[in-house]
Structures are given as C-alpha cells and as structure tokens.
Symmetry: C2
Subunit: 202 residues, 2 copies
C-alpha cells in the first residue's frame, strides 16, 4: 500500500496529518507536479483526473481525492474518529469540512493558480479573478473567526478533519501572502492550539 | 424537520433526489436567492455561509451543505445506500462524487456566475474566467464519457450520490448552453438510464 503525492502541496499534507493522527504507517512516493509527472500516462492510469494524492492498495486498486482516502481509513479504523461518530456529528463535521474547502481552500488555490503563474504552462492565469479570491479568502477568515469565538475547534468541541483542512490551507496561503490578521483573535487561538499537535509535522 | 432551499438551484435538487431515493418525506421552504433572502440575518443564523439548502431539525439544530445533509440521512437510514457500504465502496463513491463536484459542478457554477451575470449585484463577473470554465467542463465530459465506457454508473455498478450530482449538474448546465455531445455516447447512455428513475422529478 502506498500514496503517490507531492510533499509540498496542501492536499497531500491533509492526508499525511490524518494518517498520523490515526497512527497509520504509510509509504509515500513523490510525484513531481511542477515537471508534469502527474500528466503522464502512467500516473493517469492510477488517477484519471491527474491530481495528487492517490492511494494505491496492494491489489493495485487506486483511490483518488484526499477526503476519499481519509474516508477509507476512517471506515477501516474508526478509533480516534476525525469524521464524527453519530449521524449528527458526521453531518456537522462534513458541513464544516466542506465550508472550509469551498470558502478557504478553493479560493486560496485560485489565488495560487491565478496570481503566481505556477501552472502557466498548462492554464491561463486570470489576475483579476485571483485578486477577487484574495478578498473571498479574507471574508471567510472573518467568518471562521466568528465561528471559533463559540467553538473550540471548527466543527465543535473535538478536533476533526475540518481542522486539518483549515490548517493546511492557512499554512499554504503564506505562498500568496495571505495571513490571519490581528483582529482574528479566535482564529489565532485555534491556530496555536492545532499547531501544537505532533501530527502537523507529518 | 424542514429544508430551506431554492427549488430551481442545482444543489437543493441533489438533496431532494437523494431523499426521494430513500423515501424520506420532507417539508421544503422556498428561499428567494435572486432577491437576496439568503443574505438576511434570519437565514444567516441558520447557515453562516448563506448558501442553500439548509436542513433544520425539530430542535432547531441546522446543517448546511448538500452532501452533509445527505450524509446525515445516509447514516440514519442506511437502507438503499447511496454512499456505499464497505470502506472501499464508500471511498470510491466519495472519490467520484468529488471529481464530479470539482471538475463538473464547480466549473458549471463558474460559467453560470461569470457568464450570465445572475449575481452581478453581489460579485463581479469575469467573462474570460467563465469562458475558461466552458472548456474545463467540456474536457471533463470527455473524461466522464471514458469512465462510463467501463462502468454502468459513475462510481461503479450501483447508482450512487455521484450520479445524482452529475445529473443535476448536466441539467443545470443547459442554462449556460453546455450539453453532452454526439461523441459522448457512453455519457448519453448513462444519462438516459439515470433520467428514467422516478426520483429525478423530485
């Protein structure tokens, strides 16, 4: 069993932290996305969308998409749950996980793709759209700060996959010079709390 | 228990079809997003991101995000599973569900937001980015057609939430004049199959 990934990208890090939280050992194989290794036929056979990470099981079965990989291990090893236990907990964690993806991870990805030119060999950066996403990101940091004024972690009183997604996004957002601001005191309190977990260095 | 939604929008339809497949009765309350009813404080208290749909339980607890609402009912009523049964099935359905969201639903939403001007009172449409997304959408229709050459439904041999997401997106894509093409014969075969389910009129 192994995971094909790009160590510096935010999505693979989500999976690494998830597995570290659950003490699941894993072999990692580096894919050079800057050089377009993921666009080659060999990789495309493992993952039709060419994205990283991809989990390859010992029988050759492949699973793409970070959260689908996390789901696989959460279902196999439900101890130390990161996606909830009751139907309501599972729904509330999925709700916050998706909000963080839609309103933080995706806007930050848009900033990265449209403001840095990192993938300009394979897409046309649209600078104005990138700048729009700086504002969308900052708006959501304020929303998240409000949420964290009333809740220890993002989805409630327990650490969850939603916290992992938000942490990986905030750390990656530095590349496009986006940071929590002084007035986001609850967000900063949460960041320090989450940052102290040993799993974050995975 | 009730769901606040906008009947014509694609995300609420995903939830209606999901509930119809599982024979779960529901009260629906219409929210006029064109008039900005979702941006009012009353609605924002139910759903901090102001999106539709929102599930409100009898005790006032609210759950936002379509797939989180589906997850709640899948966990409560696992009969007629639409999100898989084994860890591997759950992961593969989640993988395809997310691919359809990331590479079909979101690009079509970008086309809608950036080419029609529907929300121009609350965002600046970026026409070039809208046009880029027409191409991204067409590229993924070809990927999906390849997938459906080897699989009855999108995530495998069983109908799942991934099919619901793709159907709702394709039907909504007509608004921006995007349709499967003649060469997408496997996609068209799948569309006719899925379209014949009674739940699609929900």
């Amino acid at each position: 069993m192994k995971i094909y990934e790009t160590a510096l990208a935010p999505n693979p890090r989500r999976v690494r932290i998830f597995l570290a939280e659950k003490n699941i050992p894993m072999e990692y194989v580096e894919v050079d996305i800057a050089a377009g290794e993921n666009l080659q036929d060999d990789y495309k056979k493992k993952n039709i969308t060419t994205k990283v990470p991809t989990l390859e099981l010992d029988d050759g079965t492949c699973i793409g998409e970070s959260v689908a990989i996390c789901r696989y291990f959460e279902e196999l090893y439900p101890e130390n749950p990161l996606m909830g236990e009751t139907p309501l907990e599972k729904a509330q964690i999925e709700s916050w996980q998706r909000r963080v993806e839609l309103h933080l991870l995706f806007p930050v990805a848009m900033c990265f793709q449209h403001l840095t030119g990192y993938f300009k060999d394979r897409m046309k950066p649209r600078k104005e759209w990138g700048q729009d996403n700086v504002k969308l990101t900052m708006d959501f940091l304020a929303t998240l700060n409000d949420r964290l004024a009333e809740s220890t972690y993002i989805a409630g009183e327990d650490f969850s996959i939603a916290d992992i997604t938000a942490l990986c996004t905030l750390d990656f957002a530095r590349v496009v010079k986006i940071y929590p601001q002084k007035e986001h005191s609850h967000l900063i309190r949460w960041y320090e709390l989450v940052k102290s977990r040993p799993s974050v260095s995975a």
